[in-house]
Each structure stands twice: as C-alpha cells, then as structure tokens.
C-alpha cells in the first residue's frame, strides 16, 4: 500500500471516528431529552394511578364512616359524631386534593408548568385563609355601644374577631378629649367566651392594654365577665406581604428594582421609627412580621397589638410570635423561664424587623435564621443591616433607633449599591442614640418586681436595669416606682404607723374605687382622727373571690398545658357538628334520595310492566290509575283533577283523511300512535251522576271530554251538555236500567263490571258506557269510569283505547 493510500486510510478512519463522535454528541441530548420525557410520563402515570387509588380509598372510607356519624348523631353522642366527622373531613380534603392533582397538578408537572399552578396552590389558600369572618358580631356576643359595625377583617391567629366600625359623635368627642382627634373609623378586636375565644387569649391580649392606651395605640377597651374588646384606629392599606409579592412580580426574578428597593427601605424606616416609639414608651410589640405591617400610599404602620408586652413586665417570657420572625434565642430564654424584664425585648423586635427586611428583599422567609443567604439583588450595606439585625442577641443593633440610623443612611444615598458597610453610622463609630426608656410609662401592675436574675450574664449584656419598685399593697397588687435619688420627690409618701403609700399618679386623678381607702387613711391621718381598721384593704369576701379567680386561672393554664401536650387530633377536639358531620349527613341524604328515587322508579316500571302485559286483554293502561282488566268487559277510570294533559284534539275539519278515519287521526295527533281500529259510529251512553249545578271545575273537565267524543265520530247518548232537548225515552230507560244494575256498588267493583258487561251484551244499541260521578273523598272532584264489552266489539282494543283517550285525556299504548 502506498503512502498516499495509507494516509487516505488513516484520514478516513479519523473522519469516521469524528463523524461517530459528532453523531453521538448530537444524538446524546436528544436521547437524554427523550429519556427525561419518558421518565416524566412514567412518573405522571404513576402519580395519576397512585392518586386515583387514593381517591377511591378516600371515598370508600368516607362512605364507610358516614353511617357511624349518623348513628352517633341519632344516639346523641356528639363527641363521637365530631370525631367521625373530623375523620370524614380529612378524607374529603384528601379526595379533593387528589382530584386537583390528577386534573391539574400532575399535568402541570408533566408539561413543566408549575408556575401555572403556583397561584392555585399557594396564593389561593393564602387569600382564602385571609378572608374576613362574618360582618356582624353574633347575637350571643352582642353589639358594641357607640359604634356602628361596617365590616370585618381577617382575625389572624390570636383567636379574636376584628370588626371595622364607625364611632358615633359621643365616642369621637371622647377620643378627641384623650388626644385622638379625627377618628372616623376604628377596628374593634373582640374576644368573647361565647364566640370561641379562650380565657388565656383574653388574658394575653388584655395584659398590656393600659400601657398601649397611654401611648394612644388603643382608644378604648372593655373587659366584662365573658367579653373583652379593644378599639384601635383603622389603618387602611395592604399588608407588606401582599405589597412585597406585587413588587417582586413587577421587578422580575432577579430581585427588586431600584424604585422598589427605595420604597422598601422607606417602609422599614417607618417601622423602625414606630418601634422606637414603642420601645421608648416601654412596650415591646413582639409580633413584627409583614402581615402586621400595613402599607398605604404614604407610609407603613404597625398593627396588631395582640402580643404587645411591657418591657418591664414581671411575667415569664412566652414563645408566642411567628416562626421565622421570632428570634430562636427568645424561645431558648422562654424555655429557661426567664422573665420579661430580665431581657431587652426591644432587641427581639429588631431581629424581627431584620427578618421582615430579609423577606421583602428575598420574597421569602429567613428559613435559616441569621444564616439565611441573600440571593436576590440587594446592596451590600443592606445585607449588612439585615445580618446585623438578625445577629446573635448581644451582637445585633442594641436599639431600633440604631438600626433606623443605618437604614436612613442607605435611604438617603443616591446609589445604595455604592455604600459600603464600613460607611454605615453604626460601623463608622458615630454615636447612635440609645436613650434610656422613658419614665413616663408605669410598670405593669402584675405582682411584685423581682430581682434582675441573670442580668450579669453575657447574653443579657446591655439589658437596661429596670427601676426599683416598692410594693404598695400586696392585696391590691399595686406598686410604685422607687428611685433612690428622687425618692422624696416622686415616690410614695411614707405615712408612719399607717404603713401605706399614697398612689403615685403623676398628677392625674386616682382610679376610682381602688385607692379610696388609702386616700381616706391619708385624710384621717392629716385630721388626726383614728384610721379605719381595714382602710385600703378589700373585704374578706373580695379576697376570697379573687383567690378563687386566681385558682381558676391556674387550673385553666394547667389544662391548656396538658392540652398542648396531646396529639394533634386531641388538640383539635371540639364536640358537636363539624364539617365532616355535615358532609356525612349530606352524603347520607343524597344517597338515601337516590335510593328512594330508584325504588319508586322501579316500582312504577314493575307496575307498568304488570299492567302492560296482561294475560287477559283489556282496554290498556292509564298510567297512575287503577285499570281492572277483564276477559269480557273492561273499565278505565281516571281522576280528572290529576290526569296529565295531552295534546289538544285536532278539529274535525283539519284532520287528515285516511283510511282509518278521523278517530285514528285524533289518536295519532295526540300521541303519534298507530291505532288500527276506529270507533267512528260507536255509541256511548253517558251516565252523569254529578248533581247540578256543576262546579266550574267539573264542567271544565266533563264538557271537553264529551266534545272530544263527538269530534271522534262517536254517537254520545244522554249528553248533558250537548243535547239541548235531553235524552229520549229509550235512553232514559237504559239509564234507569243501568242504575238498577249498579245498585249501591262502587264504580270500581268487579261485580259491577261484570254486570255492566252483561248489560252491554244484552243491549246491542250501546257499545260503551261512560259513568261520571262525584268523587266521594274530594269535594268538586269527578270520577269517570268507562265500561265496554270485549266480546261485543272485535275491535275492542283500539276502540277502548281511543275512548279512554277521549274520556280520560290520556293515551294508552297499543297492546
């Protein structure tokens, strides 16, 4: 082989190998795509089958459980009924989810269109869940005096009902007096034991309201034996969560655009400004989250005071709050039993605000806490602020104001992306305002303030040491602020042997009823007169009542704790009718109805078949009426009041002329039936026993019947409506004869049929007898009976049918 040939061979091999690689390279993606598609289809089919089976299983389970519900309802075992009802409710939800997935969810996954169903699966439930309740309080709860309810809002998770109301003029004047002018609409948050609220919810909500009211956050509140409500200004707008979704939808996947970022920074600055006011007023909001921030055209405002807590409260920390926006450190401290005044609650609000900022930037929750990565478009300085706010308890911003300074710095910058973290006020060493809590807020009047346990630990660094409190009255749970430097000026007044402190009211009027005894004691001391023995103390009965209330509250707390440890089903326990019970009863009703209809239909069909297939021929059937069939004689009876309408009779002039005659045309026009016999020329004797004067209803029924007979070519004898001259003698004799035949027998008696059959055979001048008489059971009703003799008329079937049609306005099917 020459060198050229060898070169050509090698070149050819190389080309072949290259071509093979090219084919593989080109084919591989196609094969992979096909593989993915096939895999998706198999997965789709598998999921569809799986969900179909699950759906069938749920339906079967529901059907099996339904009788249990019915049985327990009948037995009055409401708890068991609720139990089975919940089980059915779960099955129905499962079945609904299966149907949804089979019809929409799985196909969407198959065609890579998850974005299409995202709205249904995520946003729709959110919207439904956030739907407000009833627009009016229930009658059991009662109305709110001085307010007109105009709507309702979604209640959230606190267990209260939210109503939008308009205060009347008196209320508005009262609000103006307390420094809140121009209140046009308010929100009333109501808790009622009659309406499903629980005592712990009421206690929690009512705890900080005095302080909140002083700050102007709450306009009014009222606590009665079974109801508690408070009134706030109505803040129109949308929640920050909704606004965030909208901003991200407008900005795209990469994150907020510049305009949206600026708005976000402004909203957070508003929130921090408000929080600064809270904290300086001695309050801790404790539930800062996007849903509790309302954004209107101008600014963001904080709502929902359900968890507001005085910073110096002596209560134990609770884990209340919202996951992802609640500092995990708060949970740890609460589990350790730390008191509220031993921590700086403001820092937990700062954490929550950082989490809110994160969620607005990312359109997602900080599921990883402080470690949650920021992946969307965000200035580095803003990332720093978020992380600083969500940092460990003693490393985060010490106050909302410090965070606010940083946020405002970013907001004021022309290019937020150009700011470096080192330039932020908190990093540049610029002193940030960290004012001590205002002294204008009275400590919460709950027990005595204990020592600041654990205040020296590292995690508690920076916790402001609260004021010293002096017990004023153990009985009344009252205390006064005690400041060594100003004890003589602002603290309680020592009264020597009396041992009482005057109420420190900062110049305001003392609460009526609470300090009357003390004031009386002071007055007595000044007068030099003896001091009443029990001055300032409640009576023994009052003390016993309070002790009972405390014991009951403790029992309730214990019950709640026990309930919280139970399984989820036990937690959800509510005896009585629930959705599942209702579904079961509806299922049973519908099922019972279907079965009943089926049985009735079956009975009709059986009866029809029984009548339509007579061993002995007769005149046919009249649906719904008794039709005795005899070998020789036949009768048809009908209640004209209930007989169904049939098409109107075709007038003689317009009847089609055919070989079968007008009678056939009459019947055919009525029901399109082929009748091979005619009754033209047949003679019908009418026996009318209805006593004149006839009622209008009876006349309207009998006269057309006889008209139809005339129109059909039938010779009607003794027609009381059309024979003006009356019946002839022969006819009169026949009528008398028939009356004799009948005697006292009823029209439907078998013997009468036989007798009239015999009479008809004997009298060749009459083919049929139509007997009309009043219906005994119903005044004004008319009963019509048709008698004929089969042997006398070879065309009995057709003739009888036609007559029956004419008489009783109904048709019969041909045999």
């Amino acid at each position: 082989m020459s060198a050229v040939g060898l070169f050509g061979l090698i070149l050819g091999l190389l080309l072949a190998i290259g071509a093979a690689f090219a084919v593989v390279a080109l084919t591989l993606p196609v094969v992979r795509a096909v593989g993915i598609a096939v895999g998706s289809i198999f997965r789709f089919v598998g999921m569809e089958i799986s969900d179909s089976l699950r759906l069938v299983g749920s339906v079967i389970t529901s059907v099996v459980l339904a009788p249990f519900v019915l049985a327990t309802v009948i037995l009055g075992r409401w708890s068991a009924a609720a139990h089975f009802g919940r089980a059915i409710q779960g099955e129905v939800v499962t079945a609904g989810a299966c149907v949804y997935r089979m019809a929409i969810g799985h196909p969407a996954v198959l065609f890579r269109a998850r974005a299409l169903t995202e709205g249904i699966e995520r946003r729709l439930p959110e919207v439904v869940r956030a739907a407000p309740g009833r627009d009016r309080p229930s009658a059991r709860v009662g109305q709110f005096q001085g307010y007109t309810i105009v709507g309702s809002l979604s209640g959230g998770g606190s267990g209260g009902k939210l109503y939008v109301a308009e205060p009347d003029a008196i209320k508005q004047a009262a609000f103006e007096r307390q420094g809140a002018p121009g209140v046009q609409q308010v929100v009333i948050k109501s808790f009622s034991l009659q309406d499903g609220s629980t005592l712990p919810q009421i206690i929690r909500e009512s705890r900080a309201l005095d302080a909140a009211k002083k700050m102007g956050l709450v306009l009014e509140h009222e606590l009665t034996n079974d109801r508690f409500f408070y009134v706030m200004r109505f803040v129109p707008g949308e929640s920050l969560a909704i606004v965030t979704h909208r901003m991200h939808a407008a900005s795209g996947d990469s994150g907020l655009n510049d305009s949206a970022l600026r708005r976000t920074v402004g909203y957070i600055a508003d929130v921090l400004q408000t929080l600064t006011g809270y904290h300086e007023g001695g309050l801790w909001h404790k539930d800062i989250k996007p849903d509790n921030i309302i954004v209107d055209a101008r600014r963001a405002q904080i709502v929902d005071l359900g968890l507001v807590t005085p910073l110096r409260s002596n209560m134990t920390l609770t884990t209340h709050g919202t996951e992802y926006f609640r500092d995990p450190e708060l949970v740890r401290l609460a589990l350790k039993g730390v008191k509220v005044h031993q921590v700086d609650g403001a820092r937990f609000d700062v954490y929550a605000t950082g989490a809110v900022l994160f969620s607005v930037i990312e359109n997602s929750f900080p599921a990883h806490g402080v470690l949650s990565p920021l992946t969307k478009r965000c200035p580095e300085a803003m990332k720093w602020i978020i992380r600083r706010a969500m940092a460990d308890y003693d490393k985060r911003y010490p106050t909302a104001r410090a965070m606010l300074d940083d946020v405002r710095f970013v907001a004021a910058a022309n290019d937020p992306f150009g700011i470096k973290p080192i330039e932020l006020p908190s990093m540049s060493g610029a002193p940030t305002a960290d004012p001590a809590p205002s002294t204008d807020v009275e400590p919460e009047l709950v027990g005595a303030a204990g020592p600041a346990l654990g205040a020296s630990s590292s995690s508690m660094a920076g916790v402001p040491s609260g004021p010293r409190l002096r017990i004023k009255s153990w009985w009344q749970d009252r205390c006064s602020r005690f400041d060594r430097g100003r004890a003589g000026r602002r603290s309680g007044l020592w009264l020597g042997p009396v041992g009482l402190f005057a109420h420190w009211d900062r110049g305001g009027p003392s609460p009526k009823g609470k300090n009357e005894g003390a004031e009386e004691a002071v007055a007595s001391a000044r007068r030099g007169s003896p001091i009443p023995k029990n001055a300032g103390r409640p009576s023994a009965e009052e003390q016993r009542t309070r002790a009972r209330e405390r014991a009951n509250a403790a029992r309730e707390r214990a019950r709640q704790r026990r309930a919280a440890r139970r399984t989820p089903i036990a937690n959800d326990f509510r005896p009585g009718v629930n959705v599942g019970v209702a579904v079961a009863l509806v299922m049973l009703l519908v099922g019972g109805g279907v079965v009943a209809v089926a049985i009735i239909k079956h009975r009709d069909e059986s009866r029809q078949a029984q009548i339509e297939a007579p061993a002995a021929p007769g005149i046919g059937v009249i649906p719904g009426q008794r039709v005795p069939l005899l070998p020789r004689a036949g009768t048809a009876s009908v209640d004209l009041d209930t007989a169904s309408d049939v098409p109107s009779v075709v007038p003689a002039a317009s009847r089609p002329q055919s070989g079968l005659g007008s009678a056939l045309s009459l019947a055919a026009a009525g029901a399109g039936l082929a009748i091979d016999q005619t009754v033209r020329g047949s003679r019908v004797l009418v026996v009318c026993e209805v006593t004149p004067p006839l009622s209008t209803a009876a006349r309207n029924r009998i006269a057309p019947m006889l008209t139809r007979l005339h129109n059909a070519g039938v010779i009607v004898l003794a027609d009381p409506f059309h024979d003006a001259s009356g019946a002839d003698q022969a006819t009169e004799d026949r009528l008398v004869s028939l009356h004799r035949q009948r005697e006292l027998r009823s029209l439907d008696s078998r013997q009468l049929e036989d007798d009239i059959g015999g009479w008809l055979r004997a009298d060749t001048q009459v083919d049929f007898v139509v007997w009309i008489e009043p219906e005994p059971q119903r005044p004004g009703g008319v009963l019509v009976q048709l008698f004929g003799d089969r042997e006398q008329r070879p065309d009995w079937n057709g003739a009888a049918r036609l007559l029956a049609y004419a008489v009783i306005k109904d048709l019969v099917r041909p045999d």
Binding site: S50, D51, R54, T61, V64, L65, F68, A87, A97, Y100, G105, E121, R122, P125, Y324, P328, V331, R332, L335, K336, S364, F365, A367, H368, G369, V370, L371, S372, P373, E380, W384, R387, R388, A391, D392, K395, K420, P421, I422, E423, M427, T567, P568
Partner: protein, 256 residues
C-alpha cells in the same frame, strides 16, 4: 463508648432540659421532617409530618432512659429508628381509627432499631451530618465577634474575594485573612465538638474527617487544608440551606 460531650448532652436530655430539647429540635428537625416526608409520601400531609417529627423527639425522650450504648447503634440510626417507629405507630393508629376500634401505641424498645429495615440511606446520613455542621456554624456565629463572622460569611459563603471584603469593611486584606483564620479555627473546634456530641459510635465521630472537613494533617500545606475546609463547609452550608428551603416550602404548601 460515649464521649463526655455526648453523655453530658444525653444527661441534659434525660434531665428534661427544655433548652437541650429545643437544640435537638432546631438542629435535626428539618432532617427528621425530610425523612418522614420521604417515607410517608402520599400517605401523610405536611402538617402531620411536623407533628410526627415532634413526636419523634417525645419518643426519643422516653427511650433515652433505656438507651444501651453497648448495642452500638449510631446516633443517626437511633434518631431514624425512633422516627420510623413513630410513623409506623401513626399508620397503625390511623388504620385502627378506620376500623372504628382503638389500638394502643406500640412499645418502643431498642431491639427494634437494630432491625435491617431501619438502616438509613446515604442521603439521610449525609443530612444528619450536615445538620451537625450547621449547628457548629451557628455556635460559631454565636461565639464569634459579629464582624469576624461577617467576614467569613462574605468570603466563604457569599464567595466574595478577600480584596472586596476588605474594601467593603474598610480594612486590609491581611486583617481579613487573619480574621478568617480565627473563625476557621473556631469552626474546626466547634465541628469536632458537635460531631462528638451527636455521635454514639466511633464511625460517626470520624465522619468529619471522611468528609474532608477535619483532615488537615493529610494535606500538603496549611493553605490547601484551609481551602479544602472552606470549600467543604460552603457546600455543606448551601446544601443544608436548600433542605431548609424545601422544608419551609413544604410548610407553605401544607394544605396541598
């Protein structure tokens, strides 16, 4: 043989220290939920998964007193066995409810966990290990100076260059490097501690070395070891972040 950290942690659990239980829940909750979701796919909803993962810890509380280290079960297997037991118990309970009768909860004994059916898959073992590392990162975030950890986060987790970090924070690159080293050293210590704390067997304790986090001695240079450590930690961190993200999304779609 259990190490001191483990025994002290188990002792805290036995003493019903709620903070210890919260730690356990916070650290391994997502892993247990992911595993229960995997097992109960289609049979139980997300809300039930959340309840069951809490019940798993409650059952763990009951089984702690009977735990026998001599059986040699891994911590992850122990957790998994209890989770599976709780799930099975829930299924039995549901079936009993459907039959209209009652069925008592099964007894939990340690022999159950040694059955072949409770052996965990690689994915689960990896998730448990990642949860331990995540716990260590949280501890370091708690212990470290805020700026130090922020530097480490920006450099390693966010992938910024040393120079950019230095510019952003107004410091020099050597300072950034020094602070990185400080955080990294602390991370190594905490990872070793956490892995030891949540390990019942020696095999589990060696997991950090196997994963490349704590095998600095085998590297050619300290720089290589640091790079390897940072890389591994970054990967683990982001994988765990994904797990938490899925967990949150599952919570959001609980109704579906």
């Amino acid at each position: 043989m259990l190490n001191t950290l483990t025994t002290s942690f188990v002792a805290r659990l036995k003493a019903r220290d709620e903070a210890a239980w919260f730690e356990l829940w916070e650290t391994f909750g997502p892993v247990i939920r992911a595993q229960l979701t995997k097992w109960g796919r289609g049979k139980i909803g997300v809300e039930t998964v959340r309840d069951l993962s809490q019940e798993t810890l409650a059952a763990l509380s009951g089984s702690l007193d009977r735990y026998d280290p001599a059986k040699g079960a891994r911590f992850s297997t122990w957790l998994l066995a209890i989770a599976k037991h709780v799930l099975g118990d829930e299924m039995d309970r549901r079936m009993a409810l459907k039959r209209g009768g009652g069925k008592g909860h099964a007894e939990l004994d340690e022999s159950w966990m040694s059955r072949a059916g409770t052996r965990a898959d690689v994915e689960y073992e990896g998730a448990v290990f990642r949860a331990k590392v995540e716990k260590a990162i949280r501890m370091v975030e708690h212990d470290c100076d805020f700026a130090d950890f922020a530097i480490y986060r920006m450099r390693v987790f966010d992938g910024m260059s040393g120079k950019d970090v230095a510019v952003a924070l107004g410091t020099s690159e050597p300072t950034v490097s020094r602070r990185l080293t400080k955080v990294r050293d602390l991370l190594r210590i905490r990872i070793a501690e956490v892995v030891a704390m949540y390990s019942f067997t020696e095999e589990e304790q060696r997991e950090a070395e196997k994963s490349g986090l704590l095998d600095g001695a085998k590297r050619k240079s300290e720089k290589d070891a640091d790079s390897m450590f940072d890389e591994c930690l970054c990967e683990i961190f982001h994988t765990q972040t994904e797990l938490r993200k899925r967990d949150r999304e599952a919570s959001d779609s609980a109704r579906w």
